[in-house]
Structure formats: C-alpha cells, structure tokens
C-alpha cells in the first residue's frame, strides 16, 4: 500500500509518502484504548467541581455498593500509594514547589482536581458509581487572576497552613545586567535620540487539543515481575524513570509502551496523575487497570499552555536602530507545578531578542499560582509567547517611528554575512539567511500589490479593510545540550540514542529513542539510514516507543527528534558501515581501506566486479563461519549523541487579513510561509508539519482561548465553546522553503515541528492591527473574535466621536 520509492543512496530530500499512513488511514491502529486484556478493570476519576475548597469529609464506601464496583479510593484509602507527581525543572533555588499528590489531600485547588477513583468491571459501572461517593466541600475563595493573586492579602493557593510559604509567588527569575548592559543605561546613553515603546500583551491560555484523549493501561501481568504500562504519551522513556521514582517500583521491572499515539502537541509531554493512579492501583489489586479520559475531563485536567501577561519595552533610535529591550512577565503556573511548568517561560527568555541586534536586554519572570488547571508545554512552549511579543512590538515601534515594518526589521536583523552570531540573550546562532527567506516570501505574497489595494480600500472607505501582517521569526529547538540543561537547573539531559541492526536476511532494524505521535519518524528515519546504508527505505523498520524494545531515549518534544535523534541515526549507521567494512574486507581478501561503500555494497577499489552487499556481510556476521580474528558475531551499531547546540530554524511569514469593520469578522485572504529548517529529509513531511503548526498558531490568534469565570469554573469546557478551527475555516497556505544548513548539526537539519505555531500568531494579529491602525486601533485582544475586533474598533473610535 505504501508508495515509498525504492531508492538508495539519496533518500534524503525525497518527498516520500509516509510509510505509516496506510495503516493509520485504514484504522489498523493500536491506540491505548484498543489494548484489550482479559480481566481488565476500569478506572473512573471523581473531579472537583470547585476551584478551591477544603475536603471536609469524604466517604468512598457507598460506591462499593454499586454494581460491578471492585474498589474505590480517596487519598485516605490510597495511603502511601498516593505518590507525589514531580516537577523536574526547579528554575530557581528558592522556588516554591508545593506537593502534588495523585489524589488531592484535604484540599482541592482547581476545577478538575482529582479527588477519588472508582475501579469497576466496566467503564460504565465505574462512571455510574462516581456519584455515590460522598464528599463535603467547604468552599474557599478562589484566585484566578494573576495580578490579584500577587496582591498582599490574596488567598493563597498553597497556604501556610498547608506547610507552604503562603504566597502565590512561585518564583522570581531575574536576568538583570548591570551597568552599560542595562536597558535604562542604554536608553539614557542614546539621549534625545531614543524612542521607547511600551506595550502590555496578553498571551492567552490555550488547550493542546490532541485528537486521541489521554489513556493508560497498567498491567502487572507481564513476564516475571514486569509491570507493563501502555500510555498515550510523548515520553515513554522519561515516564519510565519518573514512574519508578514516584511509585518505588524498580525501574528494571517497568516497561512503558507508547503505542500509536494520536497527537500530543506538548500536552502528552507529562507524567499525569492518572498514570500514577493506574499503576499504583494495578499493583495494589494485582489486576490490569485501564483509564481513558473523556473530552470533558481533558479540558479541565490535561495541562494547559501559554497564559502570560507580558510587559515589554523596546527602545530604538529615531532612525530605527534598536537599542534594547526589557521584558517583565507574569506566567500562570495554575494550581500545581507539573513536569516542566516553571521552565516554559524561561525557554521564551532566550527568544525575545529573536533575529534582531541590540545591546541591552533585561528579562524577569514571576511564576504565579492560581486556582486553575496547571500549565505546561504546548507546541512551542515559551517561544510562541516570546515571538508574539517581539513581532507585535516591532510593528508598534514601526508605527511609532513612521517606518515600514518590514524595513525596520530588515534594518535590525542579523545579516547573512554575520553568522555565527551571539545574540544579546546569549545564544550562538550558527546560521540563517533572513534576507533570502524574506525575499522569497515577498515574491510569493505580492507585497507591493497588496499594499496598493490596502490604500485603495482605505481611500474608498470599504467596509472590508485589508491589513498586512509580518512575522520574521526564529526559534530555538532541538532540546538540548545536556550541559546547558544542567545549567538551567533542568534535572535531565538532552541526548538521543539509536541502535541499528543489520539482520541476517538483509533487513534493517532501526531502534530510536524518539517517540513519534504523528510526525512520520518511521519514514524519515528510514530515509536517513537508507542514505547511508544504501538499503531501500522499505527494508528498514523503525522501532520506537517501547522501553522493552527501545530501551534508551529522551523522546519527542521541542522539535528535537530530527535535530538530535537524526544525529544518532547518522552516527549509528556510519558505525555499522565501518564494522561491516572489516568483515567485507576479510571476505574480499583486501584491506578495509581498499573498499568503497557505494549503493549498499562494498566494492574493491579499481576492481568493482569484486563486491559484497551489506546484506551478505550481515549474513556472514550471523553465521560467523569466517569472521576476521577479534570480530564478534552479529552486525549492529549504536550511538548516543548529545547535541552541540540548539538549532535555530527561521522564516518569514506574511498574512493578508481582511477585516469586516461592521461585524469585526476577519478572513485570511492570503498566507505565505517561507521556512528555513536547513536540510529537509522529507519535504512532504516538512510541509505537513508547517501546515499543522500554522493552524495551531492561527487558532491562538483567532479562535482558541481558555476562559474561566471569577469562581474558577472553566467556561470553555467543551469543544462547542472552545473553538478549534477546521480546514473549512482556513485558506490554502502558500509555502516554500529556503535551505540554510545548520553548521552545528552533521545532517545540516533544524527542527520544523513548532515553527508554524511560533511564527503565525503575530503575523495574523499584526495583519488585523495593520488593517485597523488608521481607525486608531493599536492592539486586538486574542483570540481576535469578531466581538474583540469590533470592540477594539469601538474603543478606538470612542475617543474620536
């Protein structure tokens, strides 16, 4: 069914259709919910209906009277099994890290907080029995707004009586250069020539919205002492370590399998409480326990993302040369710290200066607890927030200076001739060509024609105005050099592993530590290996997502899989060739140095008729009848690679936005995305990642936004109220790529999974604001719903009228 081409030697760069698609599209999939083991018990979770309350009394025993119910637990019954879910990124020494148990102890702190569970023979019986659990909540005032949470006398999400500090201030992270490097000094030095623009941007909270809900099956029925855990997760390897730490189960008895996983977008980069509960209860009962969330549960209990208040100042000279920037963030942690909650805004810290040259940069971030669902990584994780702020304020600065926003960017970005370039935030960008990407984007967009049409519509007072939005973005991905992570107080590394086995029948088994959930690794990794081993793409099987078969890895997030995992594949494949070369030389009775390796076979230099294909070498290695002295049987090689640096993809995105000024409704007339992700292994997969990323970022700009009421009830609690756009709402994207290879990555590749999500949000909002600027509009609240756009117009015109 697959239409992959049988190519050798040059598989990199080919737009092959994905190997995995036929199976996925025909429903021959193995989602976690499809795991059916005899005697499985089903778990249902009782969740808090209140944002903040004391659990005055709880009695799960009435649930036991219900049909088919096997067990029920609150924190009390779970006792020592009620493990604390860790946060692995304590960003400062004095960060407040309150305990976060699988089931809430004494208090609930957000709507959806886990209070109790019922275990029954069917999922229906488990769900039905939840309402038999007797809970008395004593409501406490809830704090939802970050600024209110920081005020003196605010109710504390984790108060002193709970053994916490009694403040909602989770941490303060300052990056404050002194002397000449300070923002203030830089502005002062420029004197009368300095223009400072200050804005407050709200980067609203969003939900990951993966199509497959979270699910886990924990089975203590494996061989020997094995506890097998199937989970719809992005991080089976990290999960194994964390579950061992949380549950106390020996790590060498835990096997984690991420079978087919239907999307993650960061939302499945997590150790979830329900995973801990399933494992602990399976262990306690000696039975298999399954839990599959409902969409309603997902909305309140899968982690949310973004949610920052950004106060940003940018300074430039009157002719547009950037002087410096100062950023002060409030970042909403939600009610608890999950796996990397506090670190997300700090990933953004590096990205505010983006592609621009300036001498001064200050940053501070305050993490804030509120009675809301915890936040954590969602596609881009910190970089979309930063990119939104910088690309928005560049437009505001251009307006203030009376400059074309594109000219202002061009004047300040790092020139192609200036790489490598160390930014004011301390990142060493290895390569980039912002000129080339921008030139191509302008060509595809028809910038001058659209500007002319904009003028015409303005002059005629057309009810539909046109605006042009620009986003010349970069990002940092390919997480990450382990030493850098250590310096940032992240408790794990950022390496990746690959093992390649040449099997006796000539087939190749490629074992990767990355864990795809929609990205197409099976195809792309085969292409990388094929290009080195000269074996057809279809003869390579990629094994992933099962710690039993792929024991080493750091999984998939942060656009790291190709950028880091790809390096491990290359190195392992090259090592395999070198091992095989020794065996081939022995067979062909020559020195290893006398062999060329071309199109999958070793050929004797000057005598190409004398050759041995890799498959034949693999068979020799298997029989071991005639191996050179000192060479061990079997043919396999492995590599574990720690990246030298992050990777810095970039691009220029342009959005032409039509704004109906009567109704506030906006339409994307044209969207051009020219991305530079270095060498493309599979341009078709890159195209898919760009499209998906664009939709994610555009959705934040126009459609998606989590809303709570003042009591902490989630108002956007279903997909009828939390609007995820479909293809029917979006235009056909015009895309292209420039290719500036990474110089720190042996394959020349950079990440692409998050680029679209990072770039597109500001492009869209800049386009809307550009359309409305003559009416006095300087910002539009996200998501830019018709009413938000209409109100921005009304507010701007209110003064004039």
């Amino acid at each position: 069914m697959t239409e992959t081409m049988d190519v050798t030697g040059s598989a990199i760069g080919r737009p092959l259709r994905r190997k995995e698609d036929a199976r996925l599209l025909h429903g021959q999939t193995n989602w976690t919910d499809n795991i059916q083991l005899a005697g499985t018990l089903h778990m249902a979770v009782l969740r808090s209906p209140m944002a903040h309350a004391k659990i005055a009394h709880i009695d799960v025993s009435p649930a036991l009277e219900r049909p088919h119910v096997v067990a029920a637990f609150s924190a009390k019954e779970l006792g020592e099994l009620n493990g604390a879910v860790p946060c692995v990124w304590p960003v400062t020494d004095d960060i407040q890290m309150p305990p976060f148990h699988a089931l809430a102890v004494d208090k609930v702190r957000h709507v959806g907080d886990c209070v109790a569970v019922v275990i029954a023979n069917t999922k229906y019986a488990a769900a039905d029995a939840l309402d038999a659990i007797d809970v008395d909540y004593e409501p406490l005032p809830a704090v939802i707004d970050m600024e209110a949470a920081l005020k003196q006398g605010s109710v504390a999400v984790h108060d002193a009586a709970d053994g916490s500090l009694g403040t909602n201030r989770c941490y303060d992270f300052p990056l404050k250069p002194t002397g000449d490097g300070s923002f203030e000094a830089a502005v002062k030095a420029a004197g009368d020539d300095a223009v400072v623009v200050k804005r407050r941007f709200i980067n609203q909270r969003i939900i990951a919205g993966f199509m497959e809900p979270r699910a886990v099956v924990a089975s203590p029925m494996g061989m020997s002492n094995e506890m097998t855990v199937w989970s719809a997760t992005q991080i089976p390897h990290v999960l194994r370590v964390l579950l061992a730490l949380v549950t106390g189960l020996p790590e060498n008895t835990l096997r984690i399998v991420a079978p087919d996983v239907g999307g993650g977008f960061g939302g499945k980069l997590q150790l979830y409480r329900e995973e801990v509960l399933a494992v602990q209860i399976a262990r306690h009962l000696g039975r298999t326990v399954k839990w599959v969330e409902t969409r309603s549960e997902d909305m309140v209990s899968s982690h949310h993302g973004r949610d920052q208040i950004q106060d940003i100042q940018i300074a430039a000279t009157k002719d547009g040369k950037l002087i410096g920037m100062k950023v002060d963030l409030l970042a909403n942690m939600g009610a608890y710290l999950q796996i990397i909650t506090p670190g997300i805004p700090l990933l953004g810290m590096f990205m505010f200066p983006a592609i621009y040259k300036m001498d001064a940069y200050e940053f501070s971030c305050t993490g804030v607890f509120t009675n809301t669902t915890p936040t954590d990584a969602i596609r881009g994780a910190g970089r979309p927030e930063a990119t939104y702020a910088i690309e928005r304020i560049m437009d505001e600065l251009a307006a203030e200076l009376g400059m074309d926003p594109l000219k202002l960017r061009e004047m300040n970005w790092i020139k192609n001739t200036e790489f490598p370039y160390t930014t004011v935030a301390g990142l060493a960008y290895d390569s980039g060509n912002y000129e080339a990407a921008t030139e191509r984007a302008l060509e595809l967009f028809g910038y001058d024609e659209l500007r002319a049409e904009q003028e015409q519509r303005r002059a005629s007072g057309d009810p539909v105005q046109l605006g042009l939005g620009i986003s010349t973005f970069t990002e940092m991905c390919g997480l990450a050099p382990s030493r850098t992570l250590g310096a940032l107080k992240y408790v794990a590394g950022g390496w990746e592993h690959c093992t390649i086995r040449a099997l006796p029948t000539g087939k190749i088994e490629l074992i990767t530590g990355t864990s795809p959930h929609g990205q197409g690794h099976e195809t792309a990794w085969s292409q990388i290996a094929s290009s080195i081993l000269g074996v057809p793409v279809d003869d390579i099987e990629v094994v992933h997502g099962d710690t039993g078969r792929a024991p080493y890895g750091m999984d998939t997030y942060g656009s790291r899989s190709l950028a880091v995992g790809g390096q491990a594949i290359k190195k392992a494949a090259e090592r395999l060739v070198e091992k095989a070369r020794i065996i081939a030389a022995h067979q062909l009775e020559c020195s290893p140095d006398d062999l060329d390796f071309i199109q999958g076979e070793f050929r004797v230099k000057g005598d190409p008729a004398k050759a041995q294909p890799l498959a034949a070498v693999a068979f020799e290695a298997f029989t071991a009848h005639n191996l050179p002295d000192g060479v061990e049987p079997t043919l396999q090689a492995e590599a574990t690679v720690d990246p030298n640096d992050f990777s810095y993809p970039h691009g220029t995105h342009l959005a032409a936005m039509e704004v109906d000024v009567e109704t506030g409704k906006v339409k994307i007339r044209k969207y051009v995305a020219v991305d530079d992700c270095g060498v493309q292994v599979n341009p078709l997969i890159v195209e898919g990642q760009v499209h998906g990323g664009l939709v994610c970022g555009i959705a934040q700009a126009l459609y998606e936004g989590v809303e709570y009421d003042s009591d902490g009830n989630l108002l956007t609690a279903s997909l009828a109220d939390y609007l995820i756009p479909s293809a029917a709402d979006l235009p056909s994207f015009i895309t292209d790529r420039t290719e500036t290879p990474s110089t720190t990555n042996p394959l020349g590749t950079k990440g692409i999974g998050e680029a679209g999500a990072i770039a597109s949000t500001p492009a869209i909002i800049n386009g809307i604001v550009d359309a409305l600027r003559p009416m006095g509009v300087t910002d539009v609240k996200m998501p830019a719903t018709p009413e938000n756009v209409w109100r921005a117009i009304q507010a701007a015109q209110g003064g004039a009228q």
Partner: protein, 285 residues
C-alpha cells in the same frame, strides 16, 4: 462522554411510537438523527429512561408536493432537504438554511424534524421555519394536530410538543413568484452554531418591496420575527438606503443572551448589520 444506561425501542409506525412514549412517561425521549441528543446524553446533561427511535418510521421520510404547500417528513435529513428539487423550487430559503447546518457528516444524520423539535435558540432551521410560516404536524394520544411555527417554539429548548407527541411532518407553504430569500449566518467557525442568523424573504414588485419576512436566530429564547423591520420594509423602495434604514430596528424587542461567543450588546449590533445584508441579498439589491 459515557451516557447513563437507557432502554431503547424502535417502532415502525407513528402509532407505535406514541404508545412507546406513553409507556415511557415523562422520561421517554424521541431520537431521530441523534445529532443533538447524543451529545447531551454523553455529557450526562439528560438521563432519559427510554429512547424511542423514530428513524424506522417510513411515513416520516421524504418530501411531497401537497398543493399549496410541501409536506416534509420529520426524518428527512438536512442533506436531503438542501438537495431536494421540490424544496429548492418552492422553499429555497429552507434548502439554503439547511446547507448552513454544521458539517456534511451531521447533515447526513441530522433531521429537519429533530432540529425543529430540539428548539435550540441557536438552531438555524427553526428561524427558516418561522420566516416561511411553516406548520408542524404532531401526533399524540388524541390524534393529530397542527401547530403554526409562531406557536411552536416556546422557550429555550422547549417546543409546543407534549412529551407523548411525535412531530410527524412539516407543512411548508410554497413561496410564489416574485420572492427572493437569503439566510445570513454569522458564526465563529464553519461548524459552529450561529452567533446570530437572519432569514429574510422579500417580495418585490417593480422597484418596491411589497412584503418582507425577517426572522432572527439566537436573539432570544426562541427564533423571533423582526416585525418592525418587516413593517418598515413593506412598501419601501428596494434600495440599499431604505433597507439600511429599516434594519436599524432589527434588534427591537429581542432578548439575546451573553455568552462566550458574543455579548447581548454585540448580538444586537450583529442583528442590525446582518438584517441589512440578508434583506439586501433577498431583494437583489
């Protein structure tokens, strides 16, 4: 997303369906295409004891020409309504409105009768039925009765149907010559419910509007006729200015709610703008 357990019965005649509803009592619920009811059950917002599936009742299917009106069986899907030649010829507004409902999958399952009986204030088809002055044919223990659209939609998710009545068919008066129509739906995504919708039917003679019907979606607990707009349009010239002037009263007498998609104030504003646009389209201006 796990419904409470319920019984299920699938009668093959309207009489059997009524008997099943009587037997089921207050907690019995009719299901047809299930496109509105199933989400409600899965969210556990309702827990009927028995679902009476009317999908197998042959007489409730299809469209027939019945003289001065069309008779559309309640089970006729949105997809069939929007593509039916009779509907397109004689009640184009209904076909046009059906085409705006949700997405193709839902339009293949959801039914006209189900949508009307559900009486969702954000539903599009009740508004079209009100503008077209449709008549609902219901059958209960006491036999059949007819209910005019203006009396059928009572309140939020409440129709004039009794709990033991089945909506069997909808009588749709044929629009004669000289009528133009338009349904202007305003929503945030293609599949979303209407934030506000306006159904307009306008009869033109020479350059004058002789009669206009304007009905609004989601501007109160039930679809509502914008009667002051209708009076202002009657006898007005078919011009952009006259239509704009008449449309300024579109929100008069409405009671829209505020929700995540729009405040009441914005809905009132939208009603005025969209009425202007819908009427202009219907009048060919």
């Amino acid at each position: 997303m796990i419904p409470v357990a319920f019984d299920y019965t699938k009668p093959s005649t309207v009489d059997e369906a009524v008997q099943a509803l009587i037997a089921g009592g207050e907690d019995a619920k009719v299901i047809s295409g299930g496109q509105s009811l199933m989400p409600v059950l899965r969210l556990r917002m309702a827990a009927p004891s028995v679902l009476v599936d009317v999908g197998g009742i042959a007489e409730m299917n299809g469209v027939s020409d019945d003289g001065d009106h069309l008779l559309i069986g309640s089970n006729t899907t949105h997809h069939d309504v929007m593509n039916n030649a009779l509907v397109k010829q004689h009640a184009g507004l209904l076909a046009m409105t059906a085409a705006t409902v949700a997405d193709p999958q839902i339009r293949h399952r959801g039914t006209l009768g189900g949508s009307l009986a559900h009486a969702d204030p954000a539903g599009d088809l009740p508004t079209a039925a009100l503008a077209l002055e449709c008549v609902m044919v219901a059958q209960g223990p006491k036999g059949r009765r007819e209910i005019a659209a203006k009396d059928f939609f009572v309140d939020y998710f409440t129709s004039a149907l009794e709990s033991d009545e089945v909506l069997v068919a909808i009588k749709v008066p044929k629009m004669g010559d000289g009528w133009g129509y338009h349904y202007e739906k305003f929503n945030r995504t293609a599949q979303a419910w209407a934030t506000v919708g306006v159904a307009a039917a306008v009869k033109r003679q020479n350059g004058t509007i002789t009669e206009a019907r304007v009905a609004l979606t989601n501007m109160g607990p039930s679809p509502i006729r914008a009667s002051s707009v209708e009076s202002a349009l009657a006898g007005a010239s078919a011009s952009a200015d006259a239509i704009a002037a008449a449309s300024t009263s579109a929100a008069d007498g409405t009671r829209p709610t505020s929700d995540l998609h729009a405040t009441a104030e914005f809905r009132e504003h939208l009603a005025r703008v969209l009425t202007k646009r819908a009427v202009a389209q219907a009048a060919g201006v």
